[in-house]
């Protein structure tokens, strides 16, 4: 790819996980990408554009990575980008409170020959913790320009852009550290014969990677170079009685520690309040009960606080429907078209929009939990349970994203190292209850369990988590008997959530939801309305309509679960388009009544079948977008079909079970 004439400057954002890269990306570009105080939130590269004075800048946010050896998919994205794509400047983001760890990546970027600017992010926190950083010494030692930043408050962003543009125009100094005489000599021997590649890296760094046995780079060089590196590697490993990767890493850490000793001073060593909090939240016995309690409170608060808002919206739509009807009649439009607008569009889209307050509030809660760093502790807690079932606790990280949207969660499985773990996580993830399913539960709990709405919601979500874990366990047993990748995860200190970030998360979620309401849900409403109207002449939304016939065909499948009506069957079928459509379908089908859905549902469902219907909606099938993501991420249709069949079976079995138990309890 060649540079276009307008001279766009490309800056790549690189850094360890959870250093605030995405916050910085958002601060620099004004975007609203998802951030959280836990590692592994960004799994894709994201681009943004900045106009700084007369310069056009393209900023590329890469997934967080500790090193450049690339083990998981998301880390590969970062490594490959740095080696293959052109970036004029690399902006290395580091967490100032954790700077000793972060310099390891900076060192490698400089060895690669990257023109680097260092963002010393979270500078305010470092100051509070009494961490003194000698910026000049860092600059001098690494040949970089370091700028203190506080991304969440947009501090230092201008200076960062200026430094980056300046770095682009200046000559990039060579940088190399010594690995001891023997290795240094080997590196210089390899650099002499290494063939020309398109990789954007210093030859010495490539030689080092070859010596370490990087298979991606080995593919690009000739036989002669490979023979030489193999010979040298063997000689060195024999001489030091250690593998080359350890030797290299230890040399780097040694070099870093000499700089760290001079450049960084920690004046405050008392036990932080963060450590004190951890004694409670990661407690061996109380940790899990506390997590469950917190989740329960989130659902309880979501319901209590949103109730008045929901009522306003409901009344608003009832009024809108009424005046539209009157207006349409007045201008002489009635019959089919009036029905399309009020029974189809207003009822269908409106039924889902009613749940906007719940979705916004639930995400307020989740976003606060993410921002504080609590979600990282949850992963730690879950690892105990998951390890005992032979699974990796790391697989829980993508699941947390699943509460928002299963598509993102399926993509986040990239953070897992082995293909087996990724597939397990991808198959398990759709059971995590995403925000699209919330309207179904809220509707049914409101109509059937008004006194225990929070509790029932909590149980449904819990069932989702349990089924996800069960699924990973089951497929692990059947398909992949090997060991799961062990957990290594940083636990960042607890932080107060930033208002702006929380607002961005919630606003982003609301926006996505509204967009979906205006597109997929609107479209589905029209289709469902049409199917309920055709063939012409039938009574609207009757069993004789096309929709009635489709529903009746499927309905017997659900009779043991207690909701074998054609309406329920039709709602579930169309719910595959998007889970909110389950509610939309019911609304369109029952819209002829004045009373509204919550009043009419008890005519078609009992408490027991309402419960089993919610269980079915949770489990029965990933939505179309998630199925697409499964196919993309696994690279095969096979896993997608497996996921469809498996979840349908699980959904049926559990909803039948729930219904049969419930009726025996006399519900």
């Amino acid at each position: 790819m060649s540079r276009d004439a307008s001279r766009e400057t490309v800056i790549a954002l690189v850094g360890n996980p959870n250093t605030g890269k995405t916050s910085l990306f958002n601060a620099l570009t004004g975007s609203k990408q998802h951030v959280g105080n836990w590692p592994g939130v960004t799994v894709e590269k994201k681009e943004g554009f900045i106009q700084h004075k007369d310069r056009k800048i393209r900023l590329v946010d890469l997934p967080g990575t500790y090193g450049l050896r690339a083990k998981s998919e998301d880390e590969k994205i970062a490594k490959n980008y740095l080696l293959d794509a052109e970036s004029d400047v690399v902006l290395c983001v580091c967490d100032s409170t954790n700077i000793e760890r972060n310099l390891y990546l900076l060192l490698q970027l400089r060895e690669m020959g990257k023109n680097t600017v260092l963002a010393l992010n979270m500078a305010d926190e470092a100051e509070k913790k009494g961490i003194k950083i000698d910026v000049d010494l860092i600059n001098e030692s690494f040949g970089v320009t370091a700028i203190k930043t506080v991304a969440t408050r947009k501090q230092g962003t201008k200076e960062l852009l200026q430094a980056s543009l300046l770095a682009e125009s200046q000559k990039n100094e060579d940088f190399a550290i010594s690995y001891g005489e023997v290795i240094d000599e080997a590196l210089s021997d390899i650099t002499k014969i290494i063939p020309k590649t398109n990789l954007r890296s210093n030859l010495r760094y490539l030689a080092l990677r070859l010596l370490e046995g990087d298979s991606d780079i080995e593919k690009l060089v000739d036989e002669k170079t490979l023979t030489l590196t193999a010979k040298l590697r063997e000689k060195i490993e024999k001489l030091y009685d250690d593998d080359i990767s350890s030797l290299v890493a230890e040399a780097r850490y040694k070099y870093l520690s000499s700089i760290i000793q001079k450049a960084i001073r920690r004046t405050n060593t008392e036990v932080s309040w963060s450590d004190k909090l951890d004694r409670i939240f990661t407690h061996k016995k109380l940790g899990i009960p506390i997590f469950l309690l917190i989740m329960f409170l989130v659902f309880q608060l979501t319901n209590t606080l949103s109730a008045p808002l929901v009522e306003w919206i409901e009344n608003g739509f009832a009024y809108l429907s009424e005046i539209t009807n009157t207006a349409l009649t007045n201008v002489g439009i009635d019959g089919v078209w009036s029905s399309l607008i009020s029974d189809g569009i207003i009822a269908g889209v409106g039924s889902v929009l009613t749940f906007l307050p719940q979705i916004a509030l639930l995400f307020l809660g989740i976003s606060i939990l993410e921002d504080t760093g609590y979600m990282a502790r949850v992963t730690y807690l879950m690892d105990k349970i998951m390890q005992s079932m032979g699974l990796s606790g790391k697989a829980f990280i993508p699941m947390i994203l699943g509460f928002g949207c299963n598509v993102t969660a399926v993509m986040a499985s990239r953070t897992l190292e082995t293909k087996e773990d990724r597939i397990l996580s991808i198959l398990a993830n759709p059971f995590i209850s995403c925000s699209a399913r919330l309207p179904v539960y809220v509707l049914f709990t409101g109509a059937f369990f008004p006194k225990h709405q929070g509790l029932v919601l909590f149980l449904i979500y819990l069932l989702g988590i349990i089924m996800a874990i069960f699924t990973s366990w089951l497929f692990k047993k059947i398909l992949f008997k090997g060991k799961s990748s062990p957990l290594v995860m940083e636990l960042p200190p607890y932080r107060l959530p930033s208002f702006k970030n929380t607002w961005n998360q919630v606003a982003g979620r609301v926006q996505t939801f509204l967009t979906k309401a205006g597109t997929v849900i609107l479209g589905a409403s029209v289709i469902i309305w049409a199917l309920a109207t055709l063939p012409s002449g039938v009574e609207y939304a009757s069993e004789a309509s096309l929709l009635g016939r489709i529903g009746s065909l499927i309905a017997p499948l659900f009779s043991l679960a207690g909701f074998g009506t054609w309406q329920a069957a039709a709602a579930l079928s169309f719910g595959v388009l998007a889970k909110e459509v389950v509610v939309t379908s019911l609304a369109v089908l029952f819209s002829t009544s004045e009373a509204g859905l919550p009043a009419i549902l008890p005519m078609h469902f009992t408490s027991a079948s309402a419960l089993s219907f919610m269980v079915m909606s949770l489990l029965y099938m990933p939505c179309a977008a998630t199925l697409g993501a499964i196919k993309r991420e696994t690279g095969s249709r096979k896993w997608m079909i497996l996921s469809m069949v498996y979840s349908l079976v699980i959904g049926l079995v559990l909803s039948v079970l729930v219904y049969q138990v419930a009726i025996r309890l006399g519900w």
């Binding site: 000793e100 593998d243 990767s245 920690r266 990661t282 390890q387 190292e417 060991k483 995860m489 940083e490």
Partner: protein, 79 residues
Amino acid sequence: MNKSVYLSLMNSGQKGTIQAIDGGERAHARLLDIGFYEGETITIIENSFNGPIIVRLGSASNKIALGMGLAQKIMVLPA
């Protein structure tokens, strides 16, 4: 003279210096990248002997949760 022990067997509150890291290439590389290397000081924050162990490397403010499987591969010389 202290003898080095497996990290997995150390108690909460104990400190030490990393002596050796075994384990396959993959696990080893990940541990090195995240900051476990011979000579680094390590503090055990929480070890419940059932589930992952929480440690602090050097004086970093981030702690690290480490699965038992990995903790069994790290030899530490208690201080």
